[in-house]
């Protein structure tokens, strides 16, 4: 089947207005929030599960790849088509189908925006717990695919802990349902297996999620340090003391200054690091733990520990943290964020290593991270206009991730592997491991869904954002 024929059939399936195929429209789906690029051959906007299934079957027959896409806030190129395939966008499947207050569940379509769900159930005192920093834009379908976490992952867990059921369209075009509103399901935990599979096993078309009740009391503390080390040591000690914060986030000096400029969250401009600690629970328990945290921070050299007086102050402190990533865009024309994980106790030495990498490669690195989980987000700043910097950036990133793995950690905590880190998978898995995963993959997806992602491919060349080159440096055909 020629690609033109595929387009005609897609138009027949969905209606012509829901199929994009002209170059000027396709170029707008060649990016996501990562540095990767690739233009699709078609972009489609289905409105029902049946339509999704029909178009996957069509793709299967035509041997064209299919890539699901939520809001395109992914940081590993997951929603980018590498081989001019069909991108499926879920902006028309964005309804909250059911809110079951008694059982604290919601059934949603994949295109529902994370924060929109929390807003919709706020009147019942409930919210959806996974809170990636991109939550005002990213979709729940994307969250499931990436098994996204956020600052509150420490206490609440990642997306997989909040999904109890899914409906999926497999790579064959079959529609299958796993799990439901109850937690206990018999048989294999397929729901869990799909969560985090980055759209390589199936397309999620409906999701049943848990809703969580807001805590009775919340304390949000901001500890201010002169050095990153003092902050990192506090993190190790807080958890060693048996305190269980719901969030434990750290920003280094460079990051916090940028964030402060962007959001006026109240982070002191002259400090070396800030630690954001949140405690939730019953009133007495929260007060007790807040006192303990304050003690630990002061002992480890904090200049000051502030506490949010009310919801407005709390929101402001969080606004700083949630906008941290994108605020780094103010520092340099481009940045490349890593997502390495290390055991909590190894955070101080990892930070020192990152500082060495920064010196070695001559690149500025800003650090923001989910300290409680040991999930590091060093952002390497570079200027795309300088090809040498780009090369050094990629090398520095790989260097940091290799170090994380050598400490018993991982190459990704929450941003996924996608097309960005698939070449690094052998750092974590040997051939047998990868082979087992491959066999699982093939059982659900014989091939058309999101190819050349997650698994290392022989030709995993990096495609980086040449689109942002300034006019004088562009290569003309």
């Amino acid at each position: 089947m020629s690609f033109d024929e595929v387009i005609t059939q897609l138009q027949g399936l969905l209606g012509a207005q829901h199929v994009l195929h002209r170059p000027e429209d396709l170029m707008l789906y060649e990016y996501d929030a990562s540095v990767d690029k690739g233009t699709p051959g078609a972009v489609v906007f289905p409105s029902t599960t049946e339509e999704v299934a029909a178009l996957v079957r069509l793709a299967h027959r035509a041997e064209v790849s299919v890539v699901p896409r939520g809001a395109g806030t992914g940081l590993s190129g997951g929603s980018i088509s590498r081989d001019r395939g069909i991108v499926i966008v879920f902006t028309r499947m964005n309804r909250i189908l059911e809110v079951d207050v008694a059982n604290r569940r919601a059934v949603v379509q994949p295109g529902v925006v994370n924060l929109d769900l929390s807003a919709a159930v706020a009147r019942y005192g409930l919210y959806f717990a996974p809170d990636p920093s991109s939550q005002k834009a990213c979709t729940i379908g994307g969250n499931v695919a990436e098994n996204s976490g956020g600052p509150h992952t420490l206490a609440q867990g990642v997306t997989v802990n909040h999904v109890t059921g899914i409906e999926v369209v497999l790579g064959t075009g079959e529609i299958a349902r796993f799990g439901g509103k109850c937690i206990d399901t018999c048989g294999y935990d397929v729901t869990g297996y799909f969560t985090g599979s980055e759209g390589t096993l199936g397309i999620v078309t409906e999701i049943t999620v848990k809703l969580v009740r807001k805590a009775e009391a919340v304390a949000t503390l901001l500890a201010i340090y002169n050095t990153v080390d003092e902050g990192a040591n506090s993190v190790v000690e807080i958890t060693a003391e048996g305190i269980t914060p719901t969030a434990l986030e750290m920003l280094d000096g460079l990051t916090l200054r940028t964030v402060e400029e962007a959001t006026h969250a109240g982070y002191p401009m002259d400090s070396g690091a800030v630690l954001l600690v949140e405690l939730e629970g019953l009133r007495e328990e929260v007060e007790e733990q807040a006192a303990l945290v304050r003690g630990v921070c002061m002992r480890n050299g904090a200049r000051e520990v502030r506490r949010a007086k009310d919801e407005t102050e709390r929101a402001l402190l969080w606004k700083g943290r949630k906008n941290a990533f994108a605020a780094i865009g103010r520092l340099a024309p481009s940045y490349y964020t890593q997502d390495g994980v290390v055991p909590r106790s190894k955070i101080p030495q990892t930070l020192r290593y990152i500082a060495e990498v920064s010196k070695k490669y001559g690149l500025t690195i800003a650090n923001i991270f989910h300290a409680g989980d040991g999930n590091m987000h060093p952002a390497i700043l570079f200027d795309l206009r300088d090809p040498d910097q780009l090369k050094r950036t990629v090398a520095a990133g790989a260097d940091i991730l290799a170090y994380c793995v050598s400490l018993g950690g991982s190459i990704t905590g929450e941003h996924g592997v996608g097309m960005e880190k698939n070449a690094l998978m052998p750092l974590l898995f040997n051939e047998t491991d990868l082979d087992v995963m491959h066999r699982l993959h093939d059982a659900f997806n014989p091939g058309v869904l999101n190819p050349q992602k997650v698994f290392p491919t022989p030709r995993s060349c990096r495609e980086t954002g040449s689109a942002s080159l300034p006019p004088e440096l562009r290569r003309r055909p």
């Binding site: 707008l28 005002k136 990533f325 605020a327 865009g329």
Partner: protein, 435 residues
Amino acid sequence: MSTTPDMDVATTASQFTTKDRPTWDLYSRCIHCGLCLNQCPTYRVLGREADSPRGRIYQVLLVDEGRLKLADEVVTHIDRCLGCLACQTACPSGVQYGKILERARTEIETNYQRSWLTEKLRRYFYGSVLHRFDKLASVAKLVRFYQRSGMQTLARSSGLLKLMGTQELDALSPRIDDDFFFREIGNVYPAVGERRGRVAFLAGCVASVAFAELNRATIRVLTRNGVEVLVSQGQTCCGALHAHGGYLEKARELARKNIDAMMADGIDAIVTNAAGCGAMMKEYGELLEHDAEYQLKARRFAAQVRDVNEYLAEIGLRAPKKKIAGRVTYQDPCHLAHGQGVRSAPRELLKAAGLELVEMERADDCCGSAGTYNVTQNELSMKILDAKMENVAAVEPEIVATANVGCMLQLRAGLERKKMKARVMHVIEVLDEVY
């Protein structure tokens, strides 16, 4: 490197030619994180990248790279932008979307051929009507004749409007005043009681023919709060519609006129009751940054500009004489909230007047009015309005307050569409009732 083959949409060089072109420094700030997407009303309704802030910026980049022609498609997506600047508020990376948009529109006006009729209308409107108060008055008189002579009633009842597809446009157009505000230009209104301030007041172009009463109310509220008001002679339209429409040079010309006319010695502020005018005048400094003669004056002018809400909240209201009761919800005008960051002042004033303020969801989402948008992009504007009205209805207000005339008209149309009963009022009108 990117592997996209250059196709027939591509050209080899940038399509931008003017000195006001969007520059790499401006658009490369966008790291395509997507955090702005869900705040964009057109993306929320249409669900397409091309109609999102990120997509619009990317199209500008593609045109500048020579990968995309400055043709119908790009223009359509840029035309559909409300210019509400919600994306600018949402953007953590500090992208100056408003500037990129203005510059893209300037390029479009220079390098893209619109249909003959549209072109003529646009040139007439931007080129001579808005800022020539004499012409504006004659056009307004014509519309007034249509509205009062029975022709409107006839057109409405005969189904003619429906036939022409202009029914909604008709409902949205402001009722032209019987008594224009132009005669008051040049007047000085003394403060009542002890004088607490002295301001220059911008009458505005459309406001002067369609909202003259609001201007008078603004002056009453100010003077009754101890402020002397000068309606400076020689002032003109602020230039916002020109700048947003892609006529930056014209906007500069008007800015210079206003600077000359309004910067009287001894004033504390330059006050306006229109959010769009305030946002524009606060940008005069940047607008004239390359004008050796005016650059300094422009910056000083800009620093003195205050929205009337902002100014009143700053000096503090006198104790109101009367009370007004009821449930009010407040719609943030885009150019006040996103454009100027003024959010709390109008809310404080409403509470000070005695109203019970109930916040609706997404109060700072655009209502779809956006200057001339509800006329030029009527269908989309109505979809955006309907989404807004859902949130308004949910809090069951007796009064829907806002602080910009364009939003007032749109919200009135929204209430009518939803068959809801509530009063739409400018914050100033609320205050006018209690002083």
